[in-house]
Symmetry: C2
Subunit: 243 residues, 2 copies
């Protein structure tokens, strides 16, 4: 029976891949994924048989992966971060079901962008947090902002994935305005671009200044809770409320 691994290879640097992700990719007959991800892996595993598809063709990419596995191949469907967090794992299960594919599917977890970004900033995720994507491709805008509001009410740390795109330039600012209903403008905010991969860059700003920050689609934004502070260039959320 063919086997399809859905592999998260972490933020992008080889060093942040898990042993299992490396083994699965090394042993796969076919490695498939979005072109950008495939190009990252080609550097580390140049001799593999790759099948790359451009962005926005996710269902087709999954169908291709399932078809390969149905030919009794071992297939690694790769994506950055953790394939189980906003990743391809869900669509793969759905597509395999629709195709009535008699294959084995296994998800290989990886280091997600929130973890990678937090490690660069210091220790912002020491307490309860919400992970919210600002992409409105699949989620109504109002629901996204409602979630930001709920996270604000609950004084949760907030990790914003996909904070900005060319078309979507002001959602971060809107999210900041909502969070400032509950948190001071001085609340620390960390921005990490290309966390854990080449050209990594980061800065720490505040909720009040977030609208002026340099953010793009390769960035993750972490907004502290009411206890978060910065010291010596590190963003730290203390663990307890009663320490």
């Amino acid at each position: 029976m063919g086997k399809l691994y859905v592999v998260g290879f972490g933020p992008g640097g080889y060093e942040h891949m898990t042993e299992k992700a490396i083994e699965v990719i090394k042993n796969a007959d076919v490695v498939t994924g979005y072109t950008t991800y495939v190009n990252i892996l080609k550097e580390f595993f140049p001799d593999k048989n790759y099948l790359a598809t451009p962005m926005m063709q996710e269902v087709k990419r999954c169908q291709m992966a399932v078809e390969e596995a149905m030919k009794d191949q071992t297939v690694a469907m790769v994506s950055s971060g953790d394939s189980g967090i906003y990743g391809m794992a869900g669509i793969i299960y759905q597509v395999a079901e629709e195709m009535n594919a008699n294959i084995e599917i296994e998800t290989v977890p990886g280091v997600t962008a929130a973890s990678a970004a937090a490690s660069v900033l210091g220790a912002p995720l020491m307490h309860d947090f919400a992970v919210i994507s600002l992409s409105d491709l699949m989620t109504p805008f109002d629901l996204i902002m409602k979630r930001v509001d709920c996270a604000g009410q609950g004084d949760m740390i907030v990790c914003l994935y996909n904070p900005k795109s060319k078309k979507r330039v002001d959602y971060v600012e809107k999210a900041a305005d909502i969070l400032m209903k509950y948190r001071k403008p001085e609340t620390p905010v960390g921005i990490v671009r290309n966390a854990g991969r080449k050209d990594e860059a980061s800065c720490i700003t505040t909720l009040g200044e977030l609208k002026n920050a340099d953010i793009d689609m390769f960035s993750v934004v972490i907004v502290g809770n009411s206890q978060t502070y910065t010291k010596n260039g590190r963003m730290i959320t203390p663990r307890g409320y009663r320490v």
Copy 2:
């Protein structure tokens, strides 16, 4: 100058460690951490110089680690999961600051329990989610439950860390009751015990039945959002609200 790495070694199996975590542990002069974690690593790296401390002595453990680094040693302070999510990274920065330690500190991110548990269950974390610890050691009970309520309002998937302890037996039930203000009792809930390590076990139940589930301190509980469903024993949250 001494160097202190705060290393998350992932769920516990060697295969889920990152290359960097393995390298750092291999090259450290001293590996320190809570006894349970040290015992896991001793199996994989038997010849290291270990310094273990029992639970509940976290500040002391951090002081020891910082002291070792101040002797120009390379120290790996280890914990399971991601050291940056409810981990030791924050306390280490705080303790090093208090001790005026002139050492370099680096956090090595790992696969957090939410990712490990999700990979076992299927694909429950394909959409926005909140990570909430039910431990009230450091957080007032009312704030914990307020966060559960906010996550419920926002229709976020909810990952509950530390769902139960010997003293704290009914918080999961209380959380389920709060979430049922917003979600149907049929909402799928996944429970994973020892995710990604020896003796891993999992089951899928519902929000309405959660109070009868077998849960302990080694478990992670993932409550689906309004879109989550189960199929062929997998718990899946579809990616979009408009697919």
